[in-house]
Point group: C2
Chain length 210, copies 2
């Protein structure tokens, strides 16, 4: 199997860090987003949605979408579980990872895509063209600020986002913080001390460099 | 365990239909959204995000977010799987269900919440207040139209959204079509014959009345 990814894609990083944390080895194939290789015919044949990451299985089937790629890897390599252990654990990782994505990752992406001059007419990733809506940029930043407050409160109660153990929910949260810091100039605020303590611990994991 | 839900909530319907298709029985507890019961102190103690559906487990833990509730139920009651059978199947259901949600369900909800007079200041569900952005309404409708075209093309190839078998991806797609029909006056277009054939078959399942 082969993972199509880009080093500049935060969604690709969510998968690379998952692979690193599981301690498995997958063949990587870079897709050059700067040269718009995701819109090329050869890549559209792999993923018609024209997005990285995409995992091509040995029988040629493409699995796209981060949680879907994670699910395949977790089922195939169950050691070092990152999607939860028992039924309740799996549900709570799903819940908290989703909240990190919907409340943190997605608004960060929305803030970037509706502002960048190079993304005019491409406000949403995927095969369709949609104009930017500048009003979304400020709202996105407010949402990221609310996300930081909510996750700071959560991390006052528990060591990791989904509870007692490191999980995929921490991966999405870490990638969101780094993405918002770099692309929206929104690092974790000084007063969010629980979130900062969590960030320092998780960013120091070897998998975080993936 | 107990499912807090509302008959008027499309997200609640996604869980009710999942339960019906699995043939299991769960205690239901209605939350009256018309009387804003989701914002009450008693419900906030159950789900601080103030959203239905929410499943409270026997030990008092709350599982919220539709895919998380599904995951708990699928792990607990593995018969009649709706989230896939093997590793690739589970990944493909995750992928297609997510596309139905991101490309169909979410824009339908966005179109409704940014237009409804009763939702001023509540453009996004959850604990925070965000103003409506009227420009999103038209874009949402364009996205739903694109979703219908894309899923029509998909259903020309396969009998069910995720492939050969009925799955949670069909549930989200069915709930989206009914929601868009009712709330945006956007039924499946006459020319989308594969999607219409699929709709007729899936809407006739006993679980669709849930």
């Amino acid at each position: 199997m082969k993972l199509y990814h880009s080093t500049s894609s935060p969604n690709s990083r969510r998968v690379r860090m998952f692979i690193a944390e599981k301690g498995i080895s997958i063949q990587f194939q870079p897709v050059n987003l700067g040269e718009k290789e995701q819109f090329s015919d050869w890549f559209k044949a792999i993923n018609p949605r024209q997005q990285v990451p995409a995992l091509v299985l040995d029988d040629g089937v493409t699995v796209a979408e981060v949680p879907a790629i994670w699910r395949f890897l977790e089922e195939t390599y169950p050691e070092h579980p990152l999607l939860g252990r028992d039924a309740a654990g799996k549900a709570l990782v799903t819940m908290w990872e989703r909240r990190a994505e919907l409340d943190g990752f997605a608004p960060t992406m929305e803030g970037v895509r509706n502002a960048a001059a190079g993304l005019k007419g491409r406000a949403l990733s995927g095969p369709h063209e949609y104009d930017q809506i500048p009003e979304l940029v400020e709202r996105s930043k407010r949402r990221v600020a609310d996300f930081y407050k909510d996750f700071d409160a959560r991390l006052e109660q528990v060591p990791f986002v989904a509870g007692a153990e490191f999980s995929a929910a921490d991966i999405t949260t870490l990638v969101t913080v780094d993405f918002a810091t770099r692309a929206l100039n929104m690092p974790v605020p000084a007063e969010s001390s629980a979130l900062r303590r969590w960030y320092d611990a998780v960013a120091a994991r070897p998998g975080a460099t993936a």
